[in-house]
């Protein structure tokens, strides 16, 4: 990870949505969906952004793409601050960052054939592929994502869910991006199809040197694909680090609970797994708890967690950081007591 400059660097990003109320719908307060989040992605690297619904992971993606406006903080892509670019400059840069959504049905126009869906990107961004090469390029892209080029004149409904997600990936690749943001890109797929798409994403990363920001609630999928992982909770980044550090020695209680909650297909292999079942629900992001946002569900919470917000603190030299007043460090993790159900 000694690469000279990151491809994408997000610094202290805040994205907020106004809360309007009263007769004149005046803005009375705001929800900070993303609250001072920072991370870096290096070229060719896959970073996973994990968290439960409402933690702000999708808002991070939307803000990077300019679909939401950042309230403060900066987003550097190849050294340029995306939050300060004009719309025109942003449009030129946008082709380097592409997005694959969860639901291919919602992102593919049902009235367009696959060829049109892919070539549209070149129509909007001229100069990437010459018009006479379109057919050749479409066929190449379709082969690349494992689709039969002969079905280029088919409509999206003639494909299965997994194939439609392949179309979305082909379309994202059409502009030869450097970074692809996958927002729950495999969550809606059946396991056997999900495995195919994960393999495809992995091949593409290796062959094309793509970087991924892979957003998912599914930790096992993220672990498979990403070498670095960041965990978010209620708009805050609470832990970040290498895959091994996050999975072997999670330092934040929430990460630990999240890992423990993944259903294990072979539970009998480690019957002594200390099961952590969190109490309660995620609080509303509009009224986050004071101090540490996780304290209302945390079994280690003390008085200080209520008063003082913990900051991301390095736990080891590899960049493993966590934001907790009582981090579970390697030596103490064996001692920690399991809470009752």
């Amino acid at each position: 990870m000694e690469s000279p400059s990151p491809l994408l660097e997000v610094r202290e990003l805040v994205t907020a949505f106004p809360i309007k109320s009263g007769l004149f719908r005046r803005t009375t307060s705001e929800v900070q969906a993303v609250s001072k989040v920072s991370f870096k992605i290096y070229p060719g690297e896959a970073m996973g952004l994990v968290g439960e619904s409402g933690c702000g992971k999708s808002t991070v993606a939307r803000t990077i793409l300019g679909l939401e406006k950042a309230k403060s903080g900066s987003i550097f892509f190849e050294g340029k601050d995306l939050t300060k670019l004009s719309n025109k400059e942003m449009r030129a840069l946008r082709k380097d960052i592409q997005l694959v959504f969860q639901d291919p049905d919602a992102s593919l126009n049902p009235r367009m054939r696959v060829r049109e869906l892919i070539t549209e990107t070149w129509l909007v961004n001229p100069g990437i592929v010459e018009k006479e090469d379109w057919d050749k390029e479409v066929a190449k892209l379709m082969r690349l994502v494992g689709l039969n080029p002969n079905s280029a004149h088919h409509y999206p409904h003639q494909f299965s869910g997994g194939q439609r997600q392949r179309i979305c990936i082909a379309r994202a690749l059409a502009l030869r991006p450097k970074l692809i943001i996958c927002d729950e890109a495999v969550s809606a797929l059946d396991v056997s199809v999900q495995a195919q798409i994960l393999n495809l994403l992995q091949d593409l990363q290796q062959n094309l040197g793509l970087a991924y920001l892979f957003i998912s609630h599914d930790l096992s999928v993220v672990r498979h694909l990403c070498n670095r992982i960041s965990v978010m909770y209620l708009g805050k980044m609470i832990e970040t680090g290498d895959r091994e550090d996050i999975f072997e020695t999670p330092a934040h209680p929430y990460t630990k609970a999240l890992l423990s909650a993944i259903p294990n297909p072979k539970p009998w292999l480690n019957p002594n797994k200390d099961e952590i079942i969190l109490e309660g629900d995620i609080p509303s992001p509009a009224r986050p708890p004071s101090g540490c946002r996780f304290r209302t569900r945390c079994w280690k919470a003390h008085e200080i967690c209520k008063i003082e917000e913990p900051i991301l603190t390095p736990r080891n030299p590899n960049g493993h950081c966590s934001a907790c007043h009582f981090p579970m460090l390697q030596e103490s993790s064996a001692l920690h007591t399991v809470p009752g159900p």
């Binding site: 439960e52 059946d190 199809v193 999900q194 495995a195 195919q196 930790l219 993944i262 297909p265």
Partner: protein, 344 residues
């Protein structure tokens, strides 16, 4: 469908009779110009106090099976085209809707994946949970309320007195699912069907709900049919599992046996498809191809187009679900080989 000759002798001790037993059940969905065979002659049984998981991907027929047991197949279109559904020895297939209605609540109950679409948005949660009590038990208003609050406490909805008067939208997804569970359990059913009960929920909430279901099942000694696509959820919560593919049960047995010594190529393919710590970063051994179109199922074994071991036999003859070890059945011509040597 007379292709399979599935035998239906119970493999569990004869002293307990199954709570519900499906015998060669077939379900079809009719649309204007085609018939999709959603379920093909499946047989299974659930005993009191046990959890049977039906595991499968979308279109495998697992939800159709659940709906058929409940008598909730969509009309028109959904038809039970053969076989029997026996609940405590009575064949429900022949019953009229009015006769069946008496079973709902205290004999059979179901919870669905999406609680918000199962709850009525304009009625309070308390009213909806109490509906079954008022209709079936003729309880007074006061008694109903007392019982509803008991139920809400049972499913661990905090502050039940206040929540009683609230509407579904005021509840989080996990809490809504708790409401659904309270509603389903109001009359102490003997059999509860949980159709993907936690798929719409976050993992930490999923863990809460599964723990709750397990506790309630143990306390009430219910039979539970857990329908899921998630191998982890099945492994952690079920006693026995039936793996479905394209409307057929391809493998069944107790969960640990099936997951540790799978005897059907599809089960192995599923196990290989989930990312695990053993092969982090490596390629997943996914199943090639796509599930078949149920309106035009492949000849022979439904899985053969995606199976790496398929031979001419598989293309021609449909394998029967046969016992390969006590209580462990597989519908594969090469079940023994698969069991002993895995798939090539």
């Amino acid at each position: 469908m007379k292709t399979t000759a599935t035998t239906t002798q119970p493999d569990t001790p004869a002293e307990s009779k199954p709570l519900v037993e499906l015998r060669n059940l077939s379900i079809e969905f009719h649309s204007r110009n085609k018939i999709a065979k959603a379920v093909n002659s499946i047989s299974l049984e659930v005993y009191q106090g046990e959890t049977l998981a039906i595991l499968g991907e979308s279109g495998s027929g697992k939800s159709a099976t659940a709906l058929a047991i409940m008598g909730l197949l969509p009309k028109p279109g959904g038809v039970i085209s053969g076989g029997e559904i026996c609940f405590e020895g009575k064949n429900l297939v022949k019953w009229t809707e009015a006769e069946r209605r008496n079973l709902y609540g205290d004999s059979l109950s179901i919870i669905f994946q999406d609680p918000l679409s199962a709850l009525n948005p304009v009625l309070t949660v308390g009213y909806q949970i109490g509906e079954a009590l008022r209709k079936r038990k003729n309880l007074s208003k006061k008694e109903t309320k007392k019982r509803v609050i008991e139920l809400m406490n049972l499913v661990r909805i905090p502050d039940a007195e206040t929540r009683y008067k609230q509407y579904p939208y005021q509840f989080s997804g996990g809490m809504q699912q708790r409401v659904m569970i309270a509603l389903a359990l109001a009359l102490n059913p003997k059999l509860l069907i949980a159709d993907e009960p936690t798929t719409a929920l976050d993992v930490t909430v999923q863990a809460q709900i599964m723990r709750l279901l397990k506790d309630l099942q143990t306390n009430n000694h219910m039979g539970l049919i857990l329908i899921s696509h998630d191998l982890g959820v099945v492994a952690e919560n079920a006693d026995r599992v039936a793996v479905m593919y394209a409307g057929h049960i391809v493998e069944t047995g107790d969960v640990q046996t099936v997951f540790q010594n799978p005897a059907h190529p599809y089960t192995i393919g599923l196990m290989n498809s989930i990312p695990s710590d053993a092969q982090t970063g490596g390629r997943l051994k996914s199943i090639e191809g796509l599930p078949p179109n149920l309106a035009e199922p492949p000849s022979g074994c439904a899985f053969h187009p995606r199976c790496s071991m398929a031979t001419n036999l598989c293309r021609e003859r449909q394998p029967a679900l046969e016992e390969i070890a006590p209580g462990h059945k597989s519908a594969c011509h090469f079940a023994k080989d698969v069991l002993n040597h895995g798939i090539s």
